[in-house]
């Protein structure tokens, strides 16, 4: 692909997001690249780092307490995509803060920490403890509130689709995060995503990430039952690219808040489509799972144009 005439960004140059300078515009998406530590093993034999040129690794969502996640099977491949039902398996906020985040800092991995909770007010204390523990970290750039995981049914309601609740989550975190970028990750499983984005903006986010996975289901014809024990999963991968582009477009034109595009990106061309719609950065999810170098490759390709 040649550089398009409209391309104006410097993909691998630092850019401002709220109170923080982020090192680049191609990131990895939460849940598809672990805690940003596992892929270092690929550097040795490949003469290149999967982290090279990344603007951020958005770490696997952590919750106030550790979670074991959902029963197996958790993944179903479908045409052009996959359903997942991981159920937010994670080490818990405390272990993340004490062991994972310092290691990311030591390794120089640009990090955005993804947080989820079951009540809006839980976000405040987590943000405060992050600020207390990691204020001096050079590579910790921000927080992404996961307000949209379709695989967690606790509390019985999906609070990510209520503009008022989104605003409460954002406000709770913003109050404790004076000098880091704050993002809210939005669900596509809602009638009006621009309205969610607007209330996140009013409550003080620096950007919204869109989209999380699309609710989906697949049936195992051998049993006549859904493949996933929890019936529904989150649909991701190539198939959701047009959905993500539509949601990003609605936000970009209707909400007045910077947007980070996520969904179905596997190539430079896919990423460019989000930038064409006005996204300030992009995240690579499912494609990163089959290729630890997917995001780094996109970053390298876009970076070349920037400097030319």
């Amino acid at each position: 692909m040649n550089r398009p005439a409209w391309w104006r960004l410097e993909a691998n140059e630092p850019f401002r997001l709220g109170p923080r300078m982020l090192p680049g515009r191609v990131w990895t998406a939460s849940g598809c690249f672990g805690y940003g530590l596992q892929a270092h093993e690929f550097t040795t034999a490949n003469g290149a780092s999967p982290y090279a040129g990344l603007g951020a690794v958005v770490t696997k969502t952590v919750t106030p307490l550790p979670r074991e996640g959902n029963p197996m099977p958790r993944l179903v491949e479908t045409a052009c995509g996959a359903l997942n039902s991981i159920g937010l398996e994670n080490v818990g906020f405390a272990a993340f803060l004490e062991t994972v985040l310092p290691e990311l800092e030591a390794r120089g991995v640009p990090t955005i920490v993804s947080l989820a909770a079951t009540t809006p007010e839980d976000f405040g204390p987590m943000a405060r403890r992050l600020h207390e523990r990691a204020a001096g970290f050079a590579h910790w750039h921000g927080v992404e509130l996961n307000l949209s995981c379709p695989n967690v049914a606790e509390g019985g309601h999906d609070f990510g689709s209520s503009p008022a609740t989104v605003a409460r989550c954002v406000a709770a975190a913003r109050a404790e995060l004076p000098d880091r970028a704050l993002l809210a990750k939005l669900t596509p499983n809602t009638a009006d995503i621009a309205q969610l984005a607007a209330s996140a903006r009013e409550a003080g986010v620096d950007a919204v990430s869109a989209i999380n996975t699309v609710v989906g289901l697949d049936v195992d014809l051998r049993t006549g039952q859904p493949y996933l024990p929890r019936r529904f999963g989150g649909y991701s991968g190539a198939a959701i690219l047009p959905i993500a582009l539509a949601k990003v477009d609605q936000i970009a034109r209707g909400a007045g808040v910077p947007v980070v595009g996520v969904g179905g990106i596997a190539t430079v061309e896919d990423a460019l489509k989000f930038f064409a719609l006005g996204a300030v950065a992009v995240q690579v999810g499912t494609a990163q799972m089959r290729d630890p170098f997917a995001a780094a490759r996109i970053a390298a390709a876009l970076g070349q144009w920037s400097s030319s």
């Binding site: 849940g31 690929f42 034999a45 958790r74 993944l75 491949e77 995509g81 990163q288 799972m289």
Partner: protein, 280 residues
Amino acid sequence: MNGRPAPLACVGEVIANGLVSSAFHRLDIALDRVFTFQPGQFVMINEPGPLAWTFSRPFSVLAADDRIVSILYRVVGRGTQAMAGLAPGRPVSVLGPLGEPFPAPVDGQTTVLLGGGVGLPPVYAWWQRWGLDGDVACFGARDGGEVPWGLLGGPWRISVDSPGCVPAGRQATTGVVTSLVDRDDALRGGERTVLLACGPQPLLRAAADLARRRGWRCLVSLEEHMGCGYGVCKGCVVRVADGDTVRNATCCHDGPVFDAARLPDLAAEAGGADAGGAKA
């Protein structure tokens, strides 16, 4: 985990791809670099570029020779069907070697290897690398036609569910693969015996059960559905005992090789007398 060879992420080229028995295909891929692995490790295979399947497919390494890596596979679905159609010269993306291997033998160890169906590659690779006269290598298949006789030389003990075609000069016992060692009195006692098994769940249960009865250590290689193969998605977890608690471990990174004693799913009551057929 330390000491695992550094994994490659590269695109290789098919140099041979064809049936080695009625059911198993062998795929040899030439890479641009030397490929080293430990027996029990696997690679993630995919089509490169825009034809890539959403998730790569895991396959145990059968053998490696300098820059060539070989796998053995059975066609079961979309991905393996596509693999069977890969002609020499076609590009294939390879990620690996990945995962925890079978341990190398220690001095004085007797090793019993049990492979069932497409669970053959890890035990085959172990046998090729470290097998000695006192060790016992066993393979179970559905019938004689399924057995890759050309790979499995004289010392291999073969069992089949039904005889089918067994080539002249070769032998196969009808029954489950564990029966090949169960009746072997030379292997009694042996607290220095280690059983390594890979195959379908009933085989692993029977293997764990046999090892328990004999007081052997037993390591099994598990299969789980995988997304990434390198520990980042948590799509492949298995339940593993850790002291008094049971926790999730990733099949791809913490495994696929686990000590059977730590796997509640292979616990005592699960193994039945008739288990152990090669149903893969």
